[in-house]
């Protein structure tokens, strides 16, 4: 049964890693605004295009 013991502790370690990641995410404010980033990700490309557009003119 020592294999099970090893597996349980390994599994718990992995899970603890994810818990740590979650705690870090909450504390760094990633859950404060869950809406605006979804808009932001669509914008970046447009901006680059506009800049190039400006240069060519």
């Amino acid at each position: 049964m020592s294999v099970l013991n090893l597996l349980i502790s390994l599994g718990l370690l992995v899970a603890l890693g994810f818990l740590g990641a979650f705690l870090w995410a909450v504390r760094s404010g990633q859950y404060d605004d869950t809406y605006t980033p979804s808009l932001r990700m669509l914008h970046d490309e447009d901006r680059v295009l506009t800049k190039e557009h400006q240069k060519t003119r």
């Binding site: 099970l4 979650f22 909450v26 506009t50």
Partner: protein, 815 residues
């Protein structure tokens, strides 16, 4: 009145119809120079995408105000309050900007660095309408930054209370998220470790599966008890100290019983124990709490008068006027208040005359005419030309702000109302303790070794997890649906309060009537186009509020002309001549003095008009009642006692009487204190009072009432402290709101019965000594999930039945 062709030309920047001036610049058209310059600015800086991102990106540019400067913001004490962080080089600031509303706003404000190289990173939160940005403070002054935001149509909302009390980000929600995260982690892992026991693997293989698997669950429970369940411990302790039983007491009793029993089982006999049930219980409870604690970041329910005042005012010093922060104003300062600005402190009028609109403070609809050396009160709005004042009291001691010294504003409201769950759990806790004792005694007679365990089992199985979840999920869902219908409740407690309302008191000005819009009607023979033109050309010259209303009413489709023989007499009226058309308008006295025949029979109210020496008729300006008020009152009349408490005079009494019905008591000329006292008196007669109001004059009554509802045209604008914020078009949904609250409370009660049924089954099992960890692990989540499913879906179904799911905007389009 407006020409349809002019109407269809939309400004390329703000999208509003260009009515008076059109600046054409092919292919673009602008309604004002402000819009034009912003368009140029954005275009030159490669930000034209702003117009393509979102159709709704249409923000009117406020008229440029040459005199307003933000220099006062650069003063150290004000600056340090606004700026979050500064190292002498880079400064970070968070600003609330009410006009943020769409993806294009986000895009533009996050590309501010393209407009101004001194601005670093900027980030927008669309939900809270907040912009946080960093800038180089060596090269960019704070005042210049604010000015820049003003120019592009995003004026930040800088408020006095924010200055005196720097806002901190709400930490409670992220703490709850952390608690749920930890509880969820531990719960999941404990379940995983208990899984072999569920399948009966331990018994069949004949050996204990593992030492680690049986000792890890208690270890994993510790963070739950010490961190996640911390609030339950403190709440239960506080309740016991105050000698009243809330839902937290039986929960903590259950937690303790579960912990002791499981420790005894695990460490005494190597049994699995109830660790999974314990972890699951707290996890579910926390989820219910999170569901209840919906954030209404964009709304503010606890604003006081300071939020209403502007941040700065023009004060006289050696060379002219300069803007200073309101907190710096002292007694005896000379202030300048321009048109539409608020008076920040009680003061003596130094100008010859003034028209002050006190509607927000007193509820009076008409502006008050004052002459030199009379007292003006804080909160009044100056209508007409710029006036000068000398303050007689500091801001904090004025007549208006003294209302906030009343005791209702200092009471702690937390304990004045015990919610349904708490009242219920009082009996619940006592009966559970009774059952546990009786069954323990019964077992003590036959098998003493079992009696303690049975006692614990009863407490475990009766732990009111499902009971505690019913109310949060039902009222949380209700809050969500009401929010979609533009009715925003402060918290779930308000739902239960609403269900008990018996009396409704209404304010008039700004609540039943529109805050800004007034209806003007002309009685007399219709005016010709040239006559209208003559009147508007003359009215344009007068800064008197009535002239301005007249000017707006008659429209201005032609180029205005300069009148000859223009004369204006304060408090009387105006006369002038355009193209040999003589126009005289004003009070009845004014026209009689000017020798107009037939004035004796005319009424003393309204603006009378004479053209070329002949009486033509009278303009009446009335506050306009909101749409649907009559239907609203008809629906409410039968089930509730209706009352009116208005600060205005009783001139509209007949109209209001028709709305309210014969029985209703109407009180006029009420001041803020008497409104509050009226509510107190009603409450002494055991009435549950709801007050519906809008202004600062209602603040006391809103606070005193069991439920205070603030009506507002725009939820991001000012509304006094209240329990509910209703956007004006949704006011007509008041009957639905009350009905819905009653239905929600009924649903909560049904859920209580359901959870009691589960408890009854569990307690029977426990009292007869048949409860096993496996049964508990099934029964507990099963009861919780059925209660959650029932209360949520029933509340949602009720919302559909009461038409709350349909958006008000669509509904008004259909009409």
């Amino acid at each position: 009145m407006e020409d349809p062709t002019v109407d269809s030309i939309l400004c390329s920047h703000c999208g509003t119809a260009c009515s008076s001036t059109v600046i054409s610049e092919h292919p673009h058209v602008f309604c004002c120079h402000g819009c034009q310059s912003v368009h140029h600015l954005l275009h030159e800086n490669g930000l034209s995408n702003y117009y393509h991102i979102d159709e709704k990106a249409q923000i009117p540019i406020p008229k440029r105000d040459q005199h307003r400067s933000f220099e006062y913001l650069d003063k150290l004490e004000i600056r340090s309050r606004l700026i979050d962080f500064s190292d002498g080089h880079i400064a970070r600031i968070r600003l609330h900007i009410p006009s943020i509303h769409c993806a294009a706003c986000v895009w533009l404000l996050e590309h501010l660095y393209q407009l101004n190289p001194n601005i670093g990173e900027s980030q927008v939160n669309l939900i809270t309408k907040e912009l946080s940005l960093s800038f180089d403070e060596r090269t960019l002054k704070l005042s210049a930054l604010i000015e820049q935001l003003h120019t592009i149509g995003y004026p930040p909302d800088l408020q006095l209370n924010q200055l005196s009390n720097p806002s901190k980000p709400a930490a409670s929600l992220s703490r709850l998220t952390l608690q749920i995260g930890v509880a969820g982690f531990c719960f999941g892992n404990i379940m995983l470790l208990s899984f072999p026991h569920y399948l009966g693997l331990t018994e069949s293989s004949g050996q204990e599966i593992d030492t680690l698997a049986s000792y890890l669950p208690p270890l994993l429970t510790l963070p739950i008890l010490l961190f996640s369940a911390l609030d339950y411990w403190t709440a239960a302790l506080r309740n016991i100290k105050q000698r009243h039983i809330s839902i937290d007491v039986p929960i903590v009793m259950g937690i303790i019983a579960l912990f002791l029993e499981s420790s005894y089982l695990t460490f005494g006999s190597g049994n699995p124990g109830y660790w999974d049930s314990l972890a699951g219980l707290i996890f579910f409870l926390l989820c219910g709490k999170a569901f209840k604690q919906r954030t209404l970041d964009h709304l503010s329910f606890d604003r006081d008068f300071r939020a209403f005042f502007p941040l700065s005012v023009l004060r006289h010093h050696e060379n002219g006027f300069a803007s200073v922060a309101i907190s710096e104003i002292k007694q005896g300062d000379q202030l300048q208040i321009r048109n539409q600005e608020l008076i920040p402190a009680d003061a003596i009028l130094k100008s010859k005359s003034a028209a002050i609109d006190y509607s927000f403070v007193t509820g009076e609809a008409d502006p008050v005419q004052l002459s030199a050396d009379e007292t003006v009160y804080a909160g009044g709005k100056n209508l007409g030309p710029t006036i000068e004042l000398e303050t007689s009291k500091p801001v904090s001691e004025s007549y208006l702000t003294s209302l906030w010294n009343h005791h209702v504003f200092h009471e702690n409201p937390t304990f004045e109302f015990r919610n349904l769950t708490d009242r219920f759990s009082q009996y619940f806790t006592l009966s559970i303790l009774g059952i546990a004792l009786v069954s323990a005694c019964y077992w003590g007679l036959s098998d003493p070794s079992q009696s303690l365990r049975v006692f614990a089992s009863v407490l475990i199985v009766a732990c009111p997890c499902a009971l505690a979840l019913a109310a949060p999920f039902a009222s949380g869902t209700a809050l969500r649906f009401l929010g979609n219908a533009s009715i925003h409740l402060k918290n779930t407690r308000v739902v239960e309060q609403l269900a008990r309302i018996s009396t409704i008191v209404f304010d008039k000005t700004g609540t039943l009537t529109h805050a800004q819009a007034r209806s003007t009607e002309f009685s007399g023979a219709p005016l010709s186009r040239t006559e209208r033109h003559a009147i508007t050309s003359i009215a344009r010259h007068s800064a008197h509020p009535l002239s301005i209303t007249l000017h707006e009413f008659l429209g201005n489709d032609q180029e205005a002309e300069e009148p000859t023989a223009y004369q204006e007499l304060e408090g009387k009226g105006v006369s002038g001549e355009i193209d040999s058309t003589t126009v005289i308008y004003g009070s009845q006295d004014w026209l009689r003095e000017r020798g107009i025949p037939g004035m004796e029979n005319a009424s003393s109210q309204g603006i009378h008009l004479a053209i070329n020496g002949l009486y033509r008729g009278c303009f009446r300006i009335r506050p306009r009642y909101r749409r649907g008020i009559r239907e609203l009152m008809t629906q409410l009349k039968d089930n509730f006692e209706l009352r009116l408490a208005s600060g205005d005079t009783n001139r509209d009494q007949n109209t209001i009487r028709a709305f309210f019905g014969k029985k209703a008591e109407l009180s006029f000329n009420q001041n803020p204190y008497s409104k509050l006292q009226l509510i107190e008196e009603l409450q002494r007669n055991r009435a549950h009072v709801m007050f519906v109001g809008d202004g600062l004059n209602d603040a006391g009554a809103l606070k005193q009432a069991n439920v205070g509802i603030a009506v507002t045209e725009n939820t991001s604008h000012f509304s006094p402290a209240s329990d509910v914020i209703v956007s004006a078009p949704s006011l007509a949904r008041l009957p639905q709101l009350l009905q819905y609250s009653k239905a929600t409370v009924a649903i909560i009660k049904i859920s209580f019965v359901l959870s009691l049924a589960y408890n009854l089954i569990g307690v029977t099992l426990a009292a007869t000594g048949k409860l096993t960890p496996l049964l508990a692990a099934i029964l507990m989540p099963l009861s919780s999930i059925t209660i959650i499913a029932f209360s949520t879906s029933a509340t949602a179904w009720m919302a559909g039945r009461l038409n709350l799911t349909r958006n008000q905007a669509f509904e008004s389009e259909e009409q």
